[in-house]
């Protein structure tokens, strides 16, 4: 669950990235965050991940109040979320398996748990046959599935995807979105930041529009209301 109450963020450069933004995203929701570049989407994500601290206002994510959080508590917050990046951010010199296992090792999982969990997740994203391949040997869509597997492997309460289909072709994009829908059905909250309107409209989910640091629209997209 994510709650923003009158959150403002002013950078030291003087940029007003967010201006008294308030919104609530419930557990298990599937939400798109849209807006033109420079609208405040990135700041919104950074605040959720606590890479940035709000200038004013209150942020609660998965039961933790971020604006009052101590630095050493941040890792515990991040373990409740899985992040998917536009540029995949896979480690080139590691195999698909190791890229996914890396996320588990980083939080001190036992080798036994890793051996059990990684193949299961790779199967879930349809990459069971590619575990010994290196990222460079995969297509963009496959690479993003590895990114998604890595985000999922620590069993997070929510997935945050920053332009997950930005670097892959439309067909593959659709597959990734289907996969995210599938994951959402299992109870994981999904938050997708994007500027691809077509994608948003096709999926018919809740859409939060940010413009100039303000939440200007928060509705269900057309196809959702039709269905």
């Amino acid at each position: 669950m994510i709650e923003f109450r009158n959150v403002s963020k002013v950078y030291s450069t003087g940029t007003h990235a967010l201006n008294k933004a308030s919104l609530t995203i419930e557990k298990g929701e599937f939400v798109f965050i849209v807006g033109s570049s420079g609208a405040g989407k990135s700041t919104f994500l950074k605040l959720i991940m606590r890479e940035e601290i709000p200038t004013s206002g209150t942020i609660i994510v998965n039961g933790m109040q971020l604006d009052k959080m101590k630095r050493r508590q941040v890792p515990m917050l991040r373990r409740t979320m899985g992040i998917v990046f536009q540029d995949f951010r896979l480690i080139d010199k590691m195999t698909v398996y190791d890229n996914v296992a890396f996320a588990m090792r980083a939080i001190g999982a036992s080798p036994k748990a890793i051996k059990k969990r990684v193949p299961y997740i790779l199967e879930l994203v349809g990459l069971e046959g590619k575990s010994h391949n290196y990222p460079s040997e995969l297509s963009g869509g496959e690479q993003q599935r590895v990114g998604l597997a890595r985000a999922l492997v620590n069993n997070p309460k929510m997935i945050i995807a920053d332009e997950p289909t930005g670097n892959i072709d439309p067909e593959m994009s659709f597959e990734i979105m289907e996969l995210l829908s599938e994951i959402n059905k299992r109870g994981t909250t999904i938050l997708i930041v994007t500027h691809e309107h077509e994608l948003v409209e096709n999926f018919g989910r809740r859409v939060i529009t940010i413009d100039k640091g303000v939440v200007v629209d928060d509705t269900m997209s057309v196809s959702a209301s039709e269905s």
């Binding site: 950074k46 890479e51 991040r78 373990r79 980083a106 939080i107 001190g108 999982a109 620590n154």
Partner: protein
């Protein structure tokens, strides 16, 4: 932190050294030089201190008798010197013994020829004083005894050695301090380079919720391993070098050096300990700054 992942982190640290091996070798080299110089400075200080103690510790003044004084007369003079109030002990040193002593020390054939009739040394008496503060009075009493030619004033040597000792100790202290700082700087630079090359992995670790400790461990392991290797190599080098250097030094100035067996264990412990501590400190110094960065800032994007 779960310790099940600990082995993995140590492995990662050792991997860091290998993937960054040129820089690791360079820092091991610099660290060895620093430790060796530090060790040389401390050991010089130890030896000078020991030399000062051996000279200053004995309140013995050698009293030379006139050349014409015979052995029998010398024995009388020895007894007479013993009656002076501040004198606790007198030992007669016959000229034949004195020349043999020199021969034993320098093992030079020339002293063999100087024995017997050709001996240029006078008879002497070693006088031990109870209270060195009464040195001047006692010496004038000694000089007043008939047959006494001159004295060898070890007090002056002791004083010179003491001030030399103070100088060496002070200098060693600053050398040790400066070189320790240099070593920490070198290690922290090496670790910083590794961190830079692994910044991408660090950013991913942080994004999935790795604790600072967890991110830090491989780099601390790397620093400590570099320090440990340097400490061991330095100890081995010193083991071979110490006797060679001391014997060479002994040929230049005569003094009895502290044997390696007496300092070896300590220097080994200190070198390895210092190496590990410097390695750990160096890596902690360079990591702190990095850990505060987040996301793209960490990647420099």
């Amino acid at each position: 932190m779960k310790f099940s992942g600990f082995g993995y982190l140590i492995k990662e640290g050792v991997k860091n050294i290998w993937s960054n091996r040129m820089m690791s070798i360079a820092s091991v080299g610099v660290l060895i030089s620093c430790l060796l110089m530090t060790g040389a400075a401390s050991l010089l200080s130890v030896n000078v201190t020991s030399a000062v103690e051996s000279v200053g510790g004995e309140n013995v003044t050698r009293v030379y008798l006139e050349q014409e004084v015979t052995d029998l007369e010398a024995v009388y003079i020895t007894n007479e010197l013993a009656t002076i109030s501040n004198v606790t002990e007198t030992v007669f040193i016959p000229r034949d013994d004195a020349i043999k002593e020199l021969e034993d020390t320098y093992s030079d054939a020339i002293f063999e020829q100087l024995q017997g009739e050709g001996n240029p040394l006078p008879n002497a008496v070693d006088v031990t004083m109870e209270d060195l503060s009464l040195y001047d009075t006692t010496i004038s009493q000694v000089m007043a005894v008939e047959g006494v030619e001159s004295i060898r004033d070890t007090r002056e040597i002791a004083q010179k050695l003491t001030s030399l000792n103070n100088l060496v100790t002070t200098l060693s202290f600053w050398i040790v301090l400066a070189l320790t700082c240099v070593s920490i700087f070198i290690i922290s630079n090496t670790i910083r380079m590794t961190m830079y090359s692994r910044r991408f992995e660090i950013s991913i670790m942080k994004s999935v919720g790795a604790t600072d400790t967890f991110v830090r461990i491989p780099f601390v392991v790397e620093g400590m391993t570099i320090g440990l290797v340097s400490g061991i190599v330095t100890s081995v080098l010193l083991f071979f070098l110490y006797d060679i250097i001391m014997k060479t030094a002994q040929n230049i100035i005569e003094f009895s050096f502290v044997p390696y067996s007496q300092v070896g264990v300590w220097t080994t412990i200190v070198f390895i300990g210092a190496g590990v501590v410097i390695g750990a400190l160096g890596s902690v110094v360079s990591i702190g700054r990095y850990l505060k960065k987040e996301g793209n800032e960490l990647l420099g994007w």
